[in-house]
């Protein structure tokens, strides 16, 4: 260790340099942020253009905004958005129903080989579902689940369950041991302990777990595209249908893309703080 150099307060000039350094980095950060956000901005901007103003060279930044394309989107997206909402909400509820007890069995009163259990769940996230898509199609066909919303609910639940279990477990580990012991001393059974001690502590965690599940289910395309056609087609498929074989479509597509993305963007903005934890499956708090 070198000697600590005692420093007097920086003179005015140096402080000015430090401050302008701050401002400089701030400007760089703003430029980077705006550049990164630009495609989203362009999508939203294009959505408000009349179709004729969307495909011009040079691209137009001023135009008289119209809601025409949004109206068109809202008139056509009915069944798709219904399917998306049902598949997302139902699978998320199912994930919580299955995931909370499982997380409990891996955190509070752990089963004997709880580590193996945890790693089994996470290993299923690594298996590429694409590898089984043909057989999955055949299974769905034979069980009459093809093009049914139930199929998407079942598969989205399996897709998000490992993530939720890891995440909920990480929240349960934060329940103070003394609280659990106190409840046990009071003679509370495991169910009461769960309802009165654990649930109140982890409920914010449950909300952020649910949000992560919502994001992934809402955005899923591969399974929906392969296993549904009309009766269960979701919003990502609506987007595909908004790109016609010919004719102008850029403004219409942008409006559809904006409308489909906005719910998750807003949810994500609100839940920014818990996003990191959810995405790292509880590894980062």
């Amino acid at each position: 260790m070198s000697a600590v150099r005692a420093r007097t307060r920086p003179p005015g000039g140096q402080r000015f340099r430090e401050m302008s350094g701050h401002i400089g980095w701030g400007i760089i950060a703003w430029v980077a942020g705006i550049a990164f956000f630009l495609p989203v901005l362009w999508m939203v901007l294009t959505a408000f253009k009349p179709e004729s103003a969307a495909e011009t060279w040079p691209p137009r930044f001023t135009f008289s905004p119209t809601l025409a394309e949004f109206r068109l989107v809202f008139s056509g997206w009915g069944p798709f958005v219904t399917h998306s909402v049902i598949a997302t909400v139902a699978s998320t509820v199912l994930v919580l129903l299955l995931g909370i007890p499982a997380a409990y069995a891996l955190a509070i009163h752990p089963v004997k080989r709880w580590q193996d259990g945890l790693f089994f769940f996470i290993s299923t996230k690594m298996l590429p579902i694409v590898a089984a898509i043909g057989p999955l199609y055949v299974i769905a066909l034979k069980t009459h689940l093809l093009d049914s919303i139930w199929l998407l609910i079942i598969l989205y639940t399996a897709m998000n369950l490992p993530l939720a279990i890891w995440l909920i477990r990480s929240f349960m580990l934060e329940v103070p041991g003394e609280m659990l012991e106190a409840a046990e001393l009071d003679g509370a059974g495991r169910l009461r302990q769960m309802g009165e001690v654990i649930m109140p502590v982890i409920s914010p965690g449950l909300v952020s777990s649910a949000l992560i599940c919502v994001i992934f289910a809402w955005n899923e395309l591969f399974l929906a595209l392969n296993l549904t056609t009309t009766n269960a087609a979701t919003l990502p498929m609506f987007l595909i249908s908004s790109v016609p074989q010919e004719g102008l479509y850029i403004a219409h597509l942008s409006a559809a893309a904006t409308v489909a993305s906005v719910p998750v963007i807003i949810v994500g903005w609100i839940a920014q703080r818990s996003l990191v934890r959810g995405l790292s499956m509880g590894a980062i708090k």
Partner: protein, 314 residues
């Protein structure tokens, strides 16, 4: 935001289990786990068993008569098929390039966001937004409004640099797809690295500053080693998701031109949807799964290690 995870460490409540704990107790512990366990086994493992079965069958959707046994001929085809190998290779390239570039950008953004400046939380919000955009929407918006040769915004912005109406999706298809993957996943890396930076003990950094260490030296000697587990975690999780990228390929280039952007997911999708070759796709799927298991074994080990960095930073 401190990092503490107990992953493979002891759970919060460890009870002294009585010797020869009664079977009843063991079942009481197991019971809550069973529904999720059985559900996951049935829904995720059964399709793979069926895949294994079909990989030995000759089965085309469009040929009447159903499936019949063909032995290993599907596998022979997979191993002699250049298209499969090409798709495998492109999957690896896309994932590795996208994950690494996203991580480098993520570290840069995180370092920027770790400083105090006016409107920091707004910039942070702007930067995480691409991750929240529906991947199908991102792919279509990039393919059309952004990259179109005739009216795309990118060509307009690059005009001062001598770029004129480049048809990105036909001339730089693979690069374009990778750019979109990077654009969507950089926020993820940024958030994870930023969490790491903010968990960094301030007193150590202060001491380094007092010692007269430069910014670069501080980053290399202190910050980077501290961030390492976060970077590893980001790379690991990013790879798990990006190896399966399908939306961008299907919606931007449809695997083309030719097979220039056909990665494994898209290849398997084509086998089933256009060639109707369930048997062939199943065999390719089984090979994919075996390769995945080999990689995943290492990944899981890394997982166990990364999740054990308990107490780091606190």
């Amino acid at each position: 935001m401190a990092v503490v995870e107990t992953g493979a460490a002891q759970p919060a409540v460890t009870e002294v289990r009585p010797r020869g704990a009664t079977r009843r107790e063991a079942w009481q512990r197991r019971l809550p786990l069973l529904p999720a366990l059985i559900y996951t086994i049935v829904v995720t493992q059964v399709p793979f068993l069926v895949t294994l079965w079909y990989s030995f069958q000759n089965y085309f959707f469009d040929v009447p008569g159903g499936a019949h046994w063909t032995g290993v001929s599907n596998y022979k085809e997979v191993f002699t098929n250049a298209a499969f190998r090409g798709a495998l290779w492109r999957s690896v390239v896309m994932t590795v390039v996208a994950v690494l570039v996203a991580m480098i950008l993520g570290v840069a953004f995180a370092l920027l966001l770790d400083r105090k400046f006016l409107g920091r939380s707004i910039v942070r919000t702007l930067i995480i937004t691409p991750f929240l955009v529906m991947p199908a929407a991102a792919a279509l918006v990039w393919a059309g409004p952004m990259l179109d040769p005739n009216f795309g915004l990118l060509n307009y912005l690059l005009q001062p640099f001598g770029v004129h109406h480049v048809a990105w999706l036909s001339t730089h298809a693979l690069g374009s797809v990778i750019v979109v993957m990077i654009w969507q996943w950089t926020p993820f890396m940024t958030l994870i690295v930023l969490a790491g930076l903010q968990g960094q003990p301030a007193d150590v950094l202060e001491a380094a500053k007092v010692d007269g260490a430069g910014a670069l030296a501080t980053f290399r000697e202190l910050t980077f080693p501290f961030l390492r587990p976060y970077i590893e975690l980001g790379i690991l999780l990013g790879s798990i998701y990006l190896i399966n990228v399908f939306d961008a390929v299907r919606l931007m280039t449809n695997g083309g031109p030719g097979t220039a952007t056909t990665n494994l997911p898209f290849y398997l999708y084509e086998q089933v949807n256009n060639a109707f070759d369930v048997g062939g796709a199943a065999a390719a799927g089984v090979v994919t799964v075996i390769l995945t298991i080999i990689v995943a074994t290492f990944a899981l080990r890394m997982f166990a290690r990364v999740f054990q960095f308990e107490g780091a930073g606190s």
